[in-house]
Amino acid sequence: MQQPNKYQITAHCTIRQNKVFRNGGLLYEDQKALALKDFSEGLYNHLQIQYPKFYKMDPLSKLGLLATEVLFIDIPSIKLYQPEEVGVVLSNAHSSLDTDIRYMSSVQEMASPALFVYTLPNIMIGEICIRHKFKGENSFFVFKEFDATFITGYVKGLLDEDLVKACVYGWVDVLNQDYDAELYLIEQNHQ
């Protein structure tokens, strides 16, 4: 007899080339946005989010935050978990290089504290956790390309060990105007 799955992917989001897909369906598109900043702010407005701190974030954190907002559409149960029960495990290729470069430029005149705080990629995880009040396990990995086998295995380990009951995981990468996000929400089966 086949064992029932202990967990399942309950939502999936992809953001690339000015398009946003949720569970495979096109949710949003803005081909007029020439810059990532314009695209991100357009998506923010489209999702009708009220979170002024969004505007202070660096492009990587904005993209990660928006991807999780898309992920949680129609997932009201995410709010039912205890803060420690939801983990966030992300990865990318360019770490926080996009902001690091701008920070280095700003140092020529006067270093910006607001820019400096984003010169680590796991700050994106922090922003997501603050927004959704998650306090579960979190990790950030830097790979040349999305290593689905590794990261899925890592997340399943967290679920198997009962360290989390749900986890946001995937890939969020930004460098200059190139960006790519692919996030998954995996949850323990309640049946």
């Binding site: 002024p52 505007y55 202070k56 006067m110 270093a111 910006s112 504290p113 607001a114 705080v117």
Partner: protein, 85 residues
């Protein structure tokens, strides 16, 4: 002083990326932190940068921060008192 406070409100909004606020939303005597317009510790550092960049004023002591950055009026008063000749 009124013109300086008006300029400060515009500069604070620009420096801190407070896109949901307009200058008229910030009261002259409204606390800038926590219970006021909700600035945080990183914003406080940005305000120190703003003083240096726009007014060439270095905060004499970090302990003065809470008093200097309490409201737009206290900031304007500090600038007036410390403006280089």
């Amino acid at each position: 002083m009124d013109q300086l406070m008006a300029n400060l409100k515009r500069q604070i909004i620009a420096q801190l990326n407070l896109k949901d606020l307009k200058p008229e939303d910030i009261g002259d005597d409204q606390p800038l932190f926590v219970e006021g317009i909700g600035l945080d510790s990183i914003d406080a550092l940005e305000l120190i940068v703003l003083l240096q960049q726009e007014y060439k004023i270095k905060l004499a002591s970090a302990e003065d921060g809470p008093k200097v950055f309490y409201t737009v009026r206290t900031m304007a008063q500090y600038i007036t008192d410390h403006q280089p000749a």
